[in-house]
């Protein structure tokens, strides 16, 4: 069958021609019928399904297919964001899936796995999944999501390109069929993000607005004193020590706190211009004060963020902006940048074990990986140098052959809501893997990749640990009053502290009493709007005015 990809595509296009009379534009009420012509049983169908945007209209259109005619589809979805994308398994249209992330559908996914209603090929990180689109998971059909199309099939995506460029490249040039839903069909697109030659069909979505989640908006109002304290420790104990220029932040409130403290505590530490200049990051609203204060040279975003459009467009020196004036994003390139050219990754996790392995899965929720493992690991293939990378490498090897090392920092509170302990002897991920008979437990970041763990109790520098025993005690030594923390060997921990492997706030010269919300350059979303001079237009759910 793989020998006839070209011929099969031609067959499908001829069948479709009867419907479309040769036009690329398809009317919305014909879309089910069209998909019936271009999708065949057993096809690999890639649908967006991205971290933020969702091809909602095409996802729904799949439900119109008849399972007795079309079945055993093998779905390729980087982020399962809509219930329809799992309904097709319940209906008997699809049987197998390869994915990277199942965030909002994680609970249902876990249940379907337990009840064996879905076969999972593999759970990937984003770039791995895109890579496989060019190897052994070549899409037969892809269903994409854009903003504008013209009648020739040129597509404009604005800042929401996300996964599209990777998917379309893998489909259009490997004899697959490309169908795109757009908000509007126009005479002339604002910018060509995908050239018409690569596109087979476009359809105007009757809703005129695809589903887009504001995933990266963190309301500063929810930042706690503990987060401020941990942020101060990270800034003074890690940023000021290694002075990393290139970095990636996770999406949690801990890193949002740091972003908001750059103009305050960062300024006090004298970091401006010396560190944290080039970022891999979605357009986080909490970056606005730092951008306004001149901290940031560049930000390469994997995606967009609702409400940030005008602010981003007003900063073309920092964000990638097209000649038309709007944002361009690419998850593929941003992930690549985060993997190879970030000196430091700072993120958070739901569970960490005593050797530093971490995971965000819980027994009832199957989320997958997304991009964190590629950001949060030492890139073994990296060969270009930077001061921060070399300094970390030197600490890690303790001499000998010069090597570099990415700084991978986990900031966690020892307890989460409901007195749930972050530090555990055994990760839930191990049990989940056993229950679902996964060959690989879903570990987000392996312990050996982690350079520092920061908690309210202090910083553990794992680069300086010379044995596994030392690493374990360094982690227990900052695990607070959790069971893992209470099981520390006090003498060893005291020794690690005297060697600077564990640093308490007071060792860093940080008074806990300064760790208040007054440290933040914005207290709430409204402050961010004011910082942006009215350019940031937050979604309604974040407003209290």
């Amino acid at each position: 069958m793989t020998k006839n990809r070209k011929a099969l595509k031609q067959q499908k296009l001829s069948a479709a021609k009867q419907l479309t009379s040769g036009l690329k534009t398809v009317s919305a009420d014909m879309i089910g019928e069209l998909l019936g012509k271009v999708i065949a049983s057993g096809n690999k169908v890639c649908i967006e399904g991205d971290n933020q945007k969702q091809a909602d209209f095409l996802s729904q259109a799949l439900l119109e297919l008849a399972p007795d005619e079309i079945n055993n589809l093998h779905m390729l979805i980087s982020t399962i964001g809509l219930p329809e994308q799992l309904d097709i398994f319940d209906m008997g249209l699809a049987s197998k899936i390869d994915l990277a992330y199942a965030g909002p559908q994680g609970f249902r996914m876990a249940r379907m796995l337990r009840e064996k209603q879905i076969e999972v090929g593999n759970i990937h990180t984003y770039n791995e999944l895109y890579a496989r689109y060019f190897m052994d998971l070549r899409p037969d059909v892809c269903l994409l999501c854009g903003v504008e199309a013209d009648s020739d099939g040129n597509i404009y995506m604005n800042g929401s390109a996300e996964d599209s460029s990777a998917i379309v490249e893998a489909t259009a040039f490997q004899q697959g069929i490309v169908v795109v839903q757009v908000n509007r069909i126009v005479d002339k697109v604002r910018r060509v993000d995908i050239p018409a030659d690569w596109v087979d069909f476009v359809v105007e979505s009757p809703r005129h607005k695809f589903h887009l989640e504001p995933l990266f908006t963190r309301d500063p109002a929810q930042i706690t004193e503990s987060m401020v304290l941990m942020g101060m420790m990270t800034m003074k104990g890690i940023y000021a020590k290694y002075l990393p220029r290139t970095l990636n932040h996770g999406v949690g409130f801990n890193t949002a706190a740091i972003e908001l403290m750059l103009p305050t505590y960062g300024e006090e530490l004298g970091l401006k211009g010396k560190a944290l200049t080039n970022w891999v990051l979605n357009p986080h609203p909490t970056m606005i004060p730092a951008i306004e204060e001149g901290w940031v040279e560049s930000i390469i975003p994997p995606g967009s963020e609702l409400g940030m459009e005008k602010y981003v467009e007003a900063n073309p020196d920092i964000f990638p902006i097209g000649a038309d004036g709007s944002l361009r994003s690419s998850r593929l390139f941003a992930q690549l940048a985060g993997h190879y050219s970030a000196d430091i990754f700072v993120g958070a996790s739901l569970q960490i074990d005593a050797l530093g392995n971490s995971s965000t899965v819980t027994s009832e929720r199957m989320t997958g990986y997304g991009g964190a493992p590629n950001f949060g690991c030492d890139a073994g293939g990296r060969r270009h140098t930077s001061d921060a990378w070399l300094q970390a490498g030197q600490e890690y090897t303790g001499g000998g052959l010069p090597r570099g090392r990415k700084l991978v920092v986990q900031i966690v509170e020892t307890f989460q809501q409901g007195m749930k302990e972050t530090f555990v002897e055994n990760l839930d991920a191990l049990q989940l893997a056993a229950d679902a008979t996964f060959p690989l437990p879903p570990i987000m970041i392996y312990g050996e990749d982690v350079s520092h763990i920061v908690t309210e109790e202090g910083i553990a520098n794992l680069l300086l640990c010379r044995t596994l025993e030392e690493r374990e005690q360094a982690i227990r030594g900052v695990a607070g009053y959790t069971k893992v923390g209470m099981k520390r060997d006090k003498k060893v921990v005291a020794d690690l502290r005297s060697r600077g492997i564990i640093q308490r706030p007071e060792d860093l010269g940080i008074s806990k009493l300064r760790a208040t919300r007054d440290m933040l350059s914005a207290r709430n979303i409204k402050d961010l709007v004011r910082w942006s001079d009215g350019l940031y237009n937050p979604p309604s759910r974040f407003r209290n005015w």
């Binding site: 503990s226 307890f415 989460q416 007195m419 309210e456 607070g480 209470m486």
Partner: protein, 105 residues
Amino acid sequence: MEHLEYKFDGGNTQTDMLKSTVQGVVSSGNLEVLIERKKLNGKCRFIIDTAAEGFAKTWQAVLSRFMENHQPADLQFSINDYAASPDIVSLRLDQAYEALSGGKK
């Protein structure tokens, strides 16, 4: 709700402090700490009402470390706790103690 009481041998009695102070608010994940100077033969007493049951050992650990760090004496601590995590408890205790001794500055 669980009621807990602890008594610790104290360090040195200080007199240049406020008579009492209260820090924190009883809201979910938070707590209220009232410290009062009392004649307790140099000891410190902790009276705790907590919504999180079964954490007596954790309280013991948090309070012991607070006593080690500050070595206070002749103080009574009354705590209304709405399931605050130990790090928040420890932070509030430090803040309340600082506010109490802040009177001498």
